[in-house]
């Protein structure tokens, strides 16, 4: 296991591994998203309280979930890059940020669109909504800090520290619906053994969560490939790859 991880820290092995993984993630994503959308939009029954509007949850919950997971991965990868100077961890942290910011944006936008007919307003300064908005600002701060330095090493160092400090926001988002009296409803996936929703509503949600995870993985790898090429542009294998075959 350790040997394998050490090998993966080599840019060339990392690049080749990514290349092999991309088609798998692509097809898993396409398969799961089609199944999840069909089940969630066509098969799942209408909610007795929220009517059809609850179907927004099939994109809202996976993206909100991912907005936190991606931030966690970004901070951990940044920390690994900081401590052990593993360049490939820095790559993962850097390319994760715009993807995570987009998922945060989707979570906020779909939440607002759902909030209008259900709560009667697009936005409230509620604990859950505000902490998720702060998460978006953390992503944006991370991205601009990363772009503010010419030297990728300094950029990675500064932005990783920001990401790690910002980690404190994740438990706040997660527990906000419990700690404060908020308008946002509690989690329906709190205890997977006794879910609070009908299986025909829960299954598509779980499938969509997995579909979005593969989407993140796919985008991460596609962006990481190019980032590796730029960072390793002075190595022979990148030169041979770019000049030999235009892939």
């Amino acid at each position: 296991m350790w040997k394998w991880i050490q090998k993966l820290a080599s840019p060339k092995v990392f690049y080749e591994t990514i290349n092999r993984l991309i088609p798998w993630f692509l097809w898993l994503f396409i398969g799961l998203i089609l199944l999840g959308l069909y089940w969630g939009l066509a098969v799942a029954p209408v909610d007795y309280q929220q009517g059809e509007s609850y179907r927004i949850m099939y994109i809202h919950v996976p993206s909100a979930w991912l907005s936190m997971l991606v931030y966690f991965i970004m901070a951990v990868a940044g920390g690994i890059g900081l401590i052990w100077q593993i360049k490939m961890a820095q790559v993962i942290a850097k390319v994760s940020a715009p993807i995570g910011a987009s998922f945060t944006l989707i979570a906020l936008a779909t939440g607002a669109i759902w909030g209008k007919p259900m709560w009667g307003t697009w936005w409230v300064w509620d604990a859950r909504l505000t902490s998720e908005l702060i998460l978006l600002f953390l992503y944006l701060a991370y991205i601009s800090l990363n772009n503010a330095f010419d030297n990728p090493k300094t950029a990675a160092k500064a932005s990783s520290i920001l990401a790690i400090v910002g980690l404190v926001n994740l438990p706040i988002i997660h527990y906000s619906v419990k700690w404060w009296n908020t308008l946002h409803q509690g989690s329906i996936l709190e205890d997977i053994s006794k879910p609070s929703v009908h299986p025909d509503m829960l299954w598509p949600l779980l499938i969509m969560v997995f579909a979005f995870q593969f989407l993140y993985a796919l985008l991460l790898l596609l962006n990481a490939k190019d980032e590796v090429l730029v960072r390793e542009q002075n190595s022979r294998w990148v030169r041979e790859l770019v000049t030999g075959e235009q892939a």
């Binding site: 009517g51 059809e52 509007s53 179907r55 927004i56 994109i59 809202h60 993206s63 715009p98 993807i99 987009s102 944006l105 989707i106 936008a109 779909t110 669109i113 759902w114 209008k116 007919p117 989407l215 985008l219 596609l222 962006n223 490939k225 190019d226 090429l229 730029v230 542009q233 990148v238 030169r239 770019v242 000049t243 235009q246």
Partner: protein
């Protein structure tokens, strides 16, 4: 009549506007990610190809 009321003939009736809008926004944001990824990929290849061509001269 508001837009939300006009679109009730679509699937999901009175929530049609909200559901299609949120799925539409999600699609656009994700599509933008793929477009940006592909643009960046092309840019990287051009920049590196030029760099190596310059070095070979």
């Amino acid at each position: 009549m508001t837009l939300a009321e006009t679109l009730t003939y679509l699937p999901y009736g009175k929530y049609a506007f909200y559901i299609w809008l949120s799925y539409g926004v999600t699609f656009l944001v994700i599509a933008e990610l793929f477009v940006r990824t592909s643009r960046n990929h092309k840019k990287v290849l051009v920049v590196l190809t030029n760099k190596y061509a310059r070095e070979d001269d």
